[in-house]
């Protein structure tokens, strides 16, 4: 059952075109649902140690950004999926919806337990989500703090075409350009999967380089800094030179900061490129070629005017991919999920075409 006090979703003016939603959340409601997929010794361990799951709290219950008040679901997957269908998949006639499970096994310090939880989650995703709605695609949850184990988990699902990316929380133990993560990129390349870098994570150190923050607002809004650090690291450390076909999506990163990062990196690269001779083209070139950004939450005013400027500054109409970030609450009416004022061809690109070619859908 779903308690729903908000407006019933209407088909917005911009729909009628193909829609691919690149960020839908399927939450693991409790450890209980994973029990059927965990070995007996892990079930006992969880009971004996009173382990309640990772301590990440990227989307605190009760924060208005997390879910629109009154839309909390009851029941387990059925309630979530019903809400997702009613609010997004059906009214937008979504062709494909990419699930981004944000269960943070990456914050579990025992790598074997983290790996077992990741495997359990992926089996749960396959059986309870992918098997139930053919429009859904999913992201492989992997213990990315242990890259070899993470690669093993990616390999486990690489042949299932319904898994279209491996997801890593943007907050990491060390920056993602480091070669310690190569097994993950090798596995993604092996299976032609996107690597999704997603808002959040709890690696154990502060969410900003200047230290711990006092409020959720700071953490929520300052995450763009972490994304910038990761993009810089991926380019500077030569990840795209080592894995020339690697595709990286930035999920819930915002997008308006990207042009300034591109300008700055290009500018400094001209004088400092001797430190990184493997970076053979301007960094913005790598970004345009390898990186995409999901739309919601948009970090621009609601009118499409500023977003159009950003797209111009990105110098690419291929980088933005539509996403509602459901059930997180970024707009009051579904119509507002997509900015007005984009030309038909640009709208088509952002709504579906960019994601279709990036995720090979």
């Amino acid at each position: 059952m779903v308690r729903e006090s908000g407006n019933e979703a209407q088909r917005p003016f911009w729909s009628g075109r193909p829609v691919i939603d690149c960020d839908l959340h399927n939450e693991v409601p409790s450890l209980e649902v994973l029990r059927p997929y965990l070995a007996d010794h892990w079930c006992d361990y969880i009971e004996e140690s009173a382990f309640r799951g990772p301590d990440a709290d990227d989307y605190p219950k009760g924060a208005p950004t997390t879910i629109r008040p009154g839309l909390e679901w009851e029941g387990e997957v059925e309630g979530q999926l019903a809400l997702m269908r009613r609010q997004v998949l059906d009214p937008l006639q979504v062709e494909f919806g990419v699930l981004d499970c944000a269960y943070r096994v990456q914050g579990v310090h025992d790598p074997e337990l983290a790996g077992a939880l990741a495997s359990a989650i992926n089996r749960w995703q396959a059986e309870h989500w992918l098997d139930r709605d053919p429009r859904l695609r999913a992201s492989i949850v992997a213990p990315t703090q242990s890259p070899v184990l993470a690669a093993r988990e990616i390999d486990r699902w690489g042949a299932d075409a319904r898994f279209v990316q491996a997801v890593m929380p943007v907050r990491s133990l060390i920056p993602y350009g480091n070669r310690i993560y190569d097994p993950i990129y090798e596995a993604a390349a092996r299976h032609d999967l996107v690597v999704g870098i997603q808002f959040g994570g709890s690696p154990g150190h502060p969410p900003t380089p200047s230290g711990w923050l006092s409020t959720y607002l700071e953490e929520y809004a300052a995450m763009a800094q972490v994304f910038q650090s990761q993009v810089t690291s991926l380019i500077v450390e030569g990840v795209f030179d080592r894995f020339p076909d690697l595709r990286v999506s930035l999920i819930e990163a915002g997008c308006t900061w990207m042009p300034s990062l591109m300008w700055r990196l290009d500018k400094e690269w001209r004088g400092l490129r001797r430190d990184i001779p493997w970076v053979k083209r301007p960094p913005s070139d790598y970004i345009r070629r390898h990186i995409r950004l999901t739309l919601q939450p948009v970090d621009a005013p609601p009118s499409g005017k500023q977003l159009l400027e950003v797209i111009g500054q990105l110098d690419s109409d291929e980088m933005l991919m539509f996403a509602t970030d459901h059930p997180h609450w970024h707009f009051d009416r579904l119509e507002e999920a997509f900015p007005a004022g984009l030309s038909d061809s640009l709208a088509r690109r952002v709504l579906a075409d960019n994601a279709r070619s990036f995720y090979r859908l």
Binding site: D241, G271, L272, R273, P277, W278, K280, P282
Partner: protein, 148 residues
């Protein structure tokens, strides 16, 4: 086209350089392993004194760790912002088509010199360089820059 004697051969040994004023322009003349090259001493970026920069090789890498270091001494880096230019062509490393520094043809000429001639007898305009002369005839090689 005007030709200017800017140095004697011995003045710019291999690996050496000389900044000369020619027709109001500051030009750097470089001896790269016996071959001479000249570029304008003005970085196309912000006008920095390019020819005072560090001369080094071309550092490349296919991937991190696979360094290749070639053409040692043939790349000059502007002392202001580190932009790299190929002394043989004037082209920048990062944007060789659009970002380039003016380069000039240089050649070495043997001249019979008597008194303070410095090549004027061959039709060259007098340059800033005045060779030390002696009242005897000497065979001297000059470095000559062409200004188109």
């Amino acid at each position: 086209m005007a030709e200017h004697v800017v140095a004697t051969l011995g003045e710019i040994p291999p690996g050496g350089r000389k900044i000369a004023e020619v027709e109001g322009r500051s030009i750097g003349v470089f001896n790269l392993d016996g071959q001479f090259f000249a570029v304008l001493n003005r970085c196309p970026h912000q006008g920095g004194p390019l020819c005072l920069g560090q001369q080094s090789g071309l550092l490349q890498a296919r991937v991190p760790g696979e360094y290749s270091y070639t053409r040692v001494g043939e790349i000059v880096r502007c002392p202001w912002h580190g932009w790299e230019f190929d002394l043989k062509t004037g082209r920048s490393w990062f944007d060789p088509v659009r970002t380039r520094v003016r380069s000039y043809r240089v050649r070495v000429e043997m001249r019979e010199s008597e008194g303070g001639g410095c090549g004027e007898e061959a039709g060259h305009r007098p340059g800033p360089y005045r060779a030390e002369t002696f009242p005897v005839s000497v065979r001297q090689q000059y470095v000559v820059v062409e200004i188109p």
